[in-house]
Every structure is written in structure tokens, then in C-alpha cells.
Symmetry: C2
Subunit: 341 residues, 2 copies
């Protein structure tokens, strides 16, 4: 039962010697291959346990082609959507016996390049990347030559040779606007998100498309910014000071909406303001918020699972085609949009 922690390093040769077989045989039981006696198998396994043997994947990767691991490089793991994505990915990967090695770029493209390199040095079988802000097309193109399948998630960079999985934000945007149009009109604001990123571009496009079908509604305010609550708070404060905040607001995500509501409360402490707000993501807090947020829900989990499927497939069949998948979001109608009042 007790592990000999003093042993410098137990190798397959040690195990083989201890079990009285050759290294080759020990290797076979390790991989559950070949035709070996149950008895031999058990004896070798017993020796492994007794000696505290640890497989050396680095050495194995010298000969074998797979490491059963894929590298996951995300821009910001503290983003709820991203976290959910990694969970879906890990669940789907676990079923295939491959592990995800996750690392954060913190939105630095330098760090991103370093991490890609680092993952490749570790012989990962595939790569999943949520590109950092500022990732150029040239950087993305280089990814298509790394020798293992790569899938880009969330932030689209259409490059041949790279697969992509993301949310259909155009549909999401028009869905948000269409819903608002059923019970409101006039000027609309869109708040938050970086203009250089697909999610914002697509959501705005969808919103504009929907608004274009109405004669009495238009996008009057459109301000880009970081997708977080404090930016939402600041921006809404400023707009409220100006008197230029429209009563119908679409926020890039729930976080921004939280900030907007804080600003509204500061401005009119006496009671809820007559605004209509729709946001995106449906994070856990959205349903608990006052008022509960109407939001466009997209499943990070589903994106993660899809990424796993694609990677696993392309690892099996490296010459298969690259794929582009869009997950369709759905609107969750609660109270913030004002239609239930």
C-alpha cells in the first residue's frame, strides 16, 4: 500500500524486472493490447502498483503519435461563457480519454503566440483557441500550418484550414430587437463590446436588420466598450447626465446590463425606471436580478461539446474538411424588457 516515495524514478524496465517479464510485455499490458495471459497482465499490474510506476508520456510521444491531450488557449477564463465552454469541452473529451490543458492569454497576443508554441512543444493532438483581442489574420493563418487540427471558438477569424464554432450572433441580435419591437418603438441604444470583434459586429448587424423592418424604431446610440459591469455603469451614468439614454437598451452582455441598472438606480433612487433592457448570455445572476433580465441565451457548454467533436474527428481523420458551426441562441423573456408589465 505504501508508495516508495524515495525511488528516484520507476521505469517500465523496473516494472518488467519486478514482474519477471520483458519491457515489451510490460508495455503491452500498459496499453491493453496484444494477446497476453490474464495472469501475466495481473502480475505486471501488481508490480506497477507496488512500485508506484508513473507512465512517462513524453517518452511515449517519442514513438507514439498521440498524447491524448489537446491544448485550450482562451482569452479570459473568468468570463462565464468561456468557463462554461471549457466544461462542455472537458466533459466531451473525457469520454474519449483525452485531457484538455487550459491556459489563459489574458488578451495578450504575445502571450497567445507563446502558449501556442508551448502547447505544440508538448505535442498536443489538437488546439482550441479563443483568439485574444488584436489577433491578426496573419497570426491566424500561421495556425493553419501547425500540423495539428485547430478550432477557433467564439470570435470568428475566417481562415482556410481552421474550423470555427460560435454563436449565431446575427440571429441573436435580430431576435432581441424583434422582441422589443413587439411592444416598444422609438430610439434604441446598443451598449458595449469591442468593434474589432465578431460578436459585437454581428449583434449590431442583426439588430439593424430587425430595426429596418420597423418604420418607427432606430438605433440612435451605439457605443462600444469593454464588456463588463463597471463600463456599463460609467457609460449609462454619462448618458443619463446628458439626458441622451434612450428608454430602450440592448446590452452586449448581462454584465453591461447590470452596470446600466446600477446607474439607473443612482439616478432615480425612488423607484424603478421605465426602461426596457435586453442583453446577452443569460449568466446565473440574470434570473435573480431586479428586474429579472430578458436575455439572449447561448450555450457555452454546447459550443464546447461541438469543439470537442470536431477536434476528435479531425484527429481521427486529419484530412477531413474544416467545419464551421453556428449555435443558434434563444431568447429568455423575463421582466427587464417590459413586455410583462
Amino acid at each position: 500500500m505504501s508508495r516508495p516515495s524515495n525511488a528516484a524514478h520507476v521505469t517500465l524496465a523496473d516494472v518488467a524486472a519486478h514482474a519477471g517479464v520483458s519491457r515489451a510485455t510490460a508495455s503491452l499490458v500498459l496499453r491493453d493490447t496484444g494477446s497476453l495471459t490474464e495472469d501475466t497482465r495481473n502480475r505486471v499490474r501488481a508490480s506497477m502498483n507496488e512500485l508506484g510506476y508513473v507512465y512517462h508520456r513524453g517518452a511515449a510521444s517519442l514513438r507514439a503519435s498521440r498524447t491524448q491531450s489537446i491544448g485550450v488557449i482562451v482569452s479570459d477564463i473568468s468570463n462565464g461563457f468561456t468557463a462554461e465552454l471549457t466544461v462542455g469541452l472537458e466533459e466531451a473529451l473525457a469520454a474519449a480519454g483525452v485531457v484538455a490543458l487550459i491556459a489563459n492569454t489574458l488578451e495578450s497576443t504575445d502571450r497567445q503566440e507563446l502558449l501556442v508554441r508551448s502547447m505544440l512543444e508538448r505535442q498536443v493532438d489538437g488546439l482550441l483557441i479563443i483568439p485574444a483581442i488584436g489577433t491578426t489574420r496573419a497570426m491566424a493563418e500561421r495556425l493553419s500550418t501547425v500540423g495539428v487540427p485547430v478550432v477557433i471558438a467564439s470570435r470568428d477569424i475566417a481562415v482556410p484550414g481552421l474550423s470555427y464554432v460560435g454563436i449565431d450572433n446575427v440571429t441573436g441580435g435580430s431576435c432581441a430587437a424583434e422582441h422589443l419591437l413587439t411592444h416598444t418603438n422609438g430610439p434604441v441604444a446598443f451598449l458595449g463590446g469591442f468593434t474589432e470583434l465578431g460578436p459585437r459586429q454581428d449583434r449590431v448587424a442583426g439588430i439593424k436588420r430587425a430595426l429596418a423592418t420597423a418604420s418607427d424604431a432606430w438605433l440612435e446610440v451605439d457605443i462600444p466598450g469593454p464588456p463588463n459591469g463597471s463600463w456599463g455603469l460609467e457609460t449609462a451614468r454619462r448618458l443619463l447626465d446628458d439626458g441622451s439614454l434612450p428608454p430602450t437598451i440592448i446590452c452586449l452582455n448581462d454584465q453591461v446590463a447590470f452596470g446600466v441598472y446600477r446607474a439607473l438606480r443612482e439616478a432615480r433612487p425612488e423607484g424603478p425606471s421605465p426602461v426596457r433592457v435586453v442583453s446577452f448570455d443569460d449568466v446565473a445572476e440574470a434570473a435573480l436580478w431586479e428586474p429579472p433580465l430578458t436575455t439572449i441565451a447561448a450555450s457555452g457548454h454546447e459550443v464546447g461539446v461541438r469543439c470537442a467533436d470536431i477536434l476528435l474527428g479531425r484527429i481521427e481523420a486529419p484530412d477531413g474538411p474544416t467545419v464551421r458551426t453556428l449555435i443558434t441562441p434563444t431568447i429568455v423573456v423575463r421582466e427587464s424588457c417590459g413586455c410583462l408589465v
Copy 2:
């Protein structure tokens, strides 16, 4: 400029041949060691670029002792505190040129064992673990024999040979209760958290200690449960139905508090209830909440940085002592505790 993506695999020998030097020389420029001509160095580096050489860390780890990577095994990356922790860790590690490979147990001890094994197979230089619920002392003891430094974070399991970094939750708990005692008394509720985990145990201990100094305040309701908003909502609903929810409430974390507030609003839609709430963590939404949450803030970032320091230190000096560090949290007084009203 163009990478030969067709090349099966470029090795150091290829690079050496291309640059007209020996493998040993090429290896030296790889590691920036030895005394080589600037010219030789440049020539070799040029060949590396031209050939698209990728360092094979697995092969290197056969001879070298370090892989410049540490394994990070967390119970749930979508927890804000955990995410923040990994960011602090990665920042501190990056300065030392080591990368963190993160994986999620999803609170499964089976998966935890698998991931520990997997990280060790990949020859990580150290291990950081936030134990999954249900991790036994025996499992933890086995960690002290893995041959690389291990630090446990957040959830304490005191085992010789393992370092620990966490939040001083006893102080946090007493801090919360003491603050409430300055302007309230009577029955108090503590809601959320798993009884088998240190954070809850310590917070309750701190709260009881502080309450014991007052003659007219006591912990009347103490209900364990999952540390999330939906549990907070359900539980508060039930207590409200019974009429057994005390007006003074301490929540395991902000999420639980969010759920409690939702239940309060459902119960009295006409306006804010006269409750006093203090929670833990100070996640981004806490300041934006209505009312803004008074909460015990602990820096996950700081915990992460400390973990990195300890690991790097012990990797340098494997025989150094194991350390236990507690980060002291601070109270952020906002409106939910009712003292500003």
C-alpha cells in the same frame, strides 16, 4: 517566411544539418548556454525559423529535469474566485517562464485522481490543487508522495508535506458578524456552503466567536447547501414561507445572497425588505446589486500569486519546508448590511 507544413517532423538534427553544425551545437543555442559565436547562434536560429522547428519538450524531459510547467487542478473553473486565482497564478508564473496547465475536476474525486495522474505523466514540475468535494485525507496523503511539490489552495486539508494557501475565513466570519453587531442584534442566519469543507466551517466558527461576545445576538438558523444562487433562492423562499428567516443574514458567498434577495422580492414586491445581509467574495456583481452588497472580500488573485511563489520556491529547493499561508480578507461596507440607512 512560408512554413513547410508538409515536413513530417523537423528535428534538431535537421536544423543542425541545415545550419552546418553538429546537433550538440544546435542544442546549445536552443538553451542559450555554452560559449558560441554570435554568428553560429544566428545561423542556427535562422535555420530553425526556416525549417519551422518545434522543440520537443517530451524528448527533452527524458534528459532534463524540468518541463517548465505546473499542473493546476481546480474543482470548478467557472467559480469567479477560482478564475481570479488562476489569473494571479499565471501572471506570476509567466515571469518565471513556466506555464500553467489547467484542468477541471467538476467536483469529481475520480476525475481528480485521473487528472493528477495525467499531469504527473506529463512531467509537470509542480501541482496546484483545489480539492474536489469528497477528497479524503488518504487521497491528500498520497499527494505528498508524488515527487513534485504540491500546494493545496482554498480548501484546507492539513497533511504534512503539502503546502497550503487560503483565505483566513475565521477572521472573515468574525469580521462579518462584528460589523453586524455594531448596528443590529437578535437572531442571525448563516446560509450555504458544504459542511465538509473548510471555508464554511471556518466562517461559521468566526461568526460564532464574534456572536459569543454579544449577549443579545445568536446564530439561530444555520443551513448548509450548494454555494449558488438558485439554492439561495429556494432556501430563502422556504424560510420565508415558514416565517423563520431572521432579519440578519450572513451568506456563504455573494451568489447565495443574490438568490436570497430574489426570494425577498418575490415575497414583498412592494419594496425592499428590512433585512441586513453580509456575504463573502465581492464578485463583480456585488457592487452593482440592489442594494449594493456588503461583503467580505478576499483576493483570489493574491492567493494565486502566493501559490506561484511557493511552487517556484520549492521547485528550486525541493527540500525546503512546506508552508501554510492565510490571506486576510477585508470587509467592504456597502448598503446591504443596513448600517448606512
